[in-house]
């Protein structure tokens, strides 16, 4: 099954870990040159950040693409270096998981709850957020489910709206829960083995 193949990939990847400022940071290097970095809270074992980086077709090093967590550059980046940037009043989309569900938060959405509709598009393997006032629209995929090739289930999806923030939750299926549990156990073991790496502890 596909869950296994992803688990295999994770296992075969080259992993480096370090503990720094209350976070367990893990770096995965996959056989195809892709890199993944994760950060877990030491106390709660929550996933704080997961980001990806892969090389462009020509071989240039790409930028880190944030999958889970908040991007650091969004806040203080100056406009000079960039040609065009979304205004700070624009909605900010980010993913922040809990133990039992995937969760997305979209800030800066000052519309009433009735405006929003969230649906699952199983054929395209994505979720769609729509607004009846045509102010916001977003198509996003749940990459965890894509990697394990699990089907999307519309009954698992729910959303709430409070203080200008739309929160969308998708209940994690059983397979994902067990996989994450296994992975975490593996990572905790990994920490023991790589503690001797001097260069990791320098920061």
């Amino acid at each position: 099954m596909a869950v296994q193949s992803w688990a295999e990939q994770l296992k075969s990847s080259k992993k480096t870990a370090l503990i720094n400022s209350g976070k367990r940071k893990v770096h995965y290097l996959f056989a195809d040159g892709k890199e993944m970095a994760e950060e877990y809270d030491l106390k709660t074992d929550d996933l704080i950040v997961r980001k990806w980086r892969c090389k462009s077709t020509l071989g240039a090093q790409g930028q880190w693409q944030i999958e889970v967590g908040e991007s650091l550059t969004a806040a203080g980046a100056s406009l000079d270096s960039e040609l065009i940037k979304e205004n700070c009043s624009c909605p900010v989309f980010m993913r922040k998981d809990t133990k039992t569900s995937f969760q997305w938060r979209i800030r800066n959405l000052p519309y009433p709850k009735e405006v929003f509709s969230v649906s699952v598009e199983p054929s395209e393997r994505c979720c769609i957020i729509k607004t009846s006032n045509k102010k916001y629209y977003k198509k996003f995929s749940i990459s965890d489910l894509d990697r394990c090739q699990l089907p999307l289930d519309c009954s698992a999806l729910s959303f709430t709206h409070a203080s200008n923030t739309l929160i969308i939750s998708y209940k994690k299926p059983k397979e994902i829960l067990t996989l994450e549990h296994e992975l975490l156990k593996e990572l905790k073991k990994l920490q023991g083995t790589s503690e001797g790496d001097g260069d990791c502890k320098t920061q």
Partner: protein, 463 residues
């Protein structure tokens, strides 16, 4: 309300009129051939040299065809007979998508890089690879564009752009460059545009259908398009051309793309090059990429030495080799780095691989034409007599000297508040500036009073 209207309108461009400087060959816009490759007497800035232009046209067809790699052409002729002009003409007619790299023979001698490395970099700059890459673009209909200038007139402008699709609407902050290119493109509310997020390139797709009734006066070429659907930001595959050298640079450094702009690339390892070659041919087989052999133009090719020539011999045999065009004004002379004499200062074995195009000195009529073209290019008006005098000067001294006199005479004329350059102005600058033969005449007469005249060397060794 009126204030609102004023800010939404994009102000006319006034600060970005680029002034192009006039170079020695800036009047050349092509080879001046018709469809049957027959040269026109005067066309696209080219005058005379019919046979050599025709030959260059044949070469041009071969380059455009793109099948034949590793051919070399030598343009040989006296100084000032249009060798570089022909090469520029080829470059101009190739268009922006075919790589054209020009360098002078002396450029490869550097302390930081070996000669052969400089040559291989030049070779690889002249090979283009057309490849698909995914980029992020923003596509939407302009709802509002607002650019605020600071009241003092100086300082950074602040800009905001509101874009929408059928489903959503977003406000963007604009950087200074983006403001300039938006006003250059004359983007206004109701236009449907795409912006490449990485490069900032803007393309107008047309006007939105919903704005069709806004104005009655509309250009015939105005196209109406539907407002885009879905999300504003999309990932799209675009085809672009990069040179092999650029791919080398990207892959030879960890920080990658930034190295392109820092300038200092240093030497590139041959392993990297081999890897890239293998990858490119893999892409080509998979149909992902297409190779566009371009042109490498080496001016003053007699400045290369024996090692470079033997490198060229070898490099031309590779199937990833561009069409090499060389130019020289030397006759039979010493090959640099040896004691042997050879035609054009190029070893016979390399000469054997070359197609040689000869240029011949210009006739009086042609000289007259060229001077006329240059006068237009340099914005100087010449009276009929002055033109005749200048043509005589061009024939008796050199064409380059005559061309130099155009702008200087133009200045003298302007100083005396004249509108048209007269014979007096030409005489004036002719007496002010010596040409080469008068200068050597002067030397011969006053040799004794110059410094270091004891050493009676026969001739300066420049080969």
């Amino acid at each position: 309300m009126a204030g609102q209207m004023a800010t939404t309108k994009v102000p006319e461009v006034r600060d970005i009129t680029r002034i192009e400087r006039i170079g020695a060959h800036s009047h050349i816009r092509g080879l001046g051939l018709d469809d049957a490759l027959e040269p026109r007497q005067v066309s696209q800035g080219m005058v005379g040299q019919l046979a050599s232009r025709r030959a260059a046209g044949v070469i041009l067809e071969m380059i455009k065809d793109g099948h034949i790699a590793g051919r070399a052409v030598l343009i040989a002729g006296q100084p000032g007979t249009g060798k570089t002009a022909i090469a520029m003409g080829i470059a101009q007619s190739l268009g922006p998508d075919t790589p054209f790299t020009a360098l002078a023979g002396s450029e490869i001698f550097s302390l930081e890089m070996s000669k052969t490395e400089a040559l291989s970099q030049a070779f690889r700059k002249a090979i283009g690879v057309r490849i698909k890459e995914e980029t992020e673009i923003i596509e939407g209909e302009v709802v509002e564009i607002q650019i605020d200038r600071p009241a003092t007139g100086t300082g950074a402008k602040v800009g905001k752009l509101t874009l929408k699709t059928t489903e959503m609407e977003t406000i963007y902050d604009l950087g200074n460059k983006m403001i300039e290119s938006l006003s250059k493109e004359k983007v206004q509310a109701g236009d449907v545009i795409t912006i490449d997020k990485a490069t900032g390139k803007i393309s107008k797709l047309g006007r939105s259908f919903t704005r069709a009734r806004d104005y009655d006066a509309m250009g015939a070429q105005t196209q109406f398009v539907q407002c885009p659907e879905g999300e504003l930001q999309k990932r799209k595959e675009v085809v672009h051309t990069v040179s092999l050298h650029e791919i080398d640079v990207i892959n030879s450094r960890t920080q990658g793309f930034l190295a392109l702009f820092s300038g200092d690339t240093g030497e590139i390892k041959s392993e990297v090059r081999e890897q890239i070659n293998a990858k490119v041919s893999e892409w080509r087989e998979e149909g992902k990429a297409e190779i566009i052999p371009g042109v490498l133009f080496i001016d003053e090719v007699h400045m290369l030495d024996m090692e470079c020539f033997s490198f060229l011999n070898r490099a031309l045999e590779s199937d990833l080799s561009p069409v090499l065009i060389m130019a020289t004004n030397r006759g039979i002379t010493r090959i640099r780095g040896t004691n042997y004499q050879s035609p054009h200062g190029i070893p016979i074995d390399l000469l054997d691989r070359l197609l040689i195009i000869a240029t011949s000195p210009y006739t009086e009529k042609e000289t007259r034409q060229i001077l006329k073209i240059r006068c237009e290019e340099e914005d100087v008006e010449l009276s009929e007599e002055a033109h005749t005098v200048l043509t005589r000067i061009g024939l008796e001294t050199s064409l380059r000297y005559a061309i130099q006199l155009i702008s200087t005479a133009g200045l003298v004329c302007r100083k005396r508040r004249g509108t048209e350059v007269q014979v007096e102005d030409i005489k004036r600058v002719y007496s002010l500036f010596l040409d080469e033969s008068r200068s050597s005449q002067y030397m011969k007469e006053y040799q004794d009073s110059f410094l270091f005249n004891e050493a009676q060397t026969t001739q300066m060794d420049t080969s």
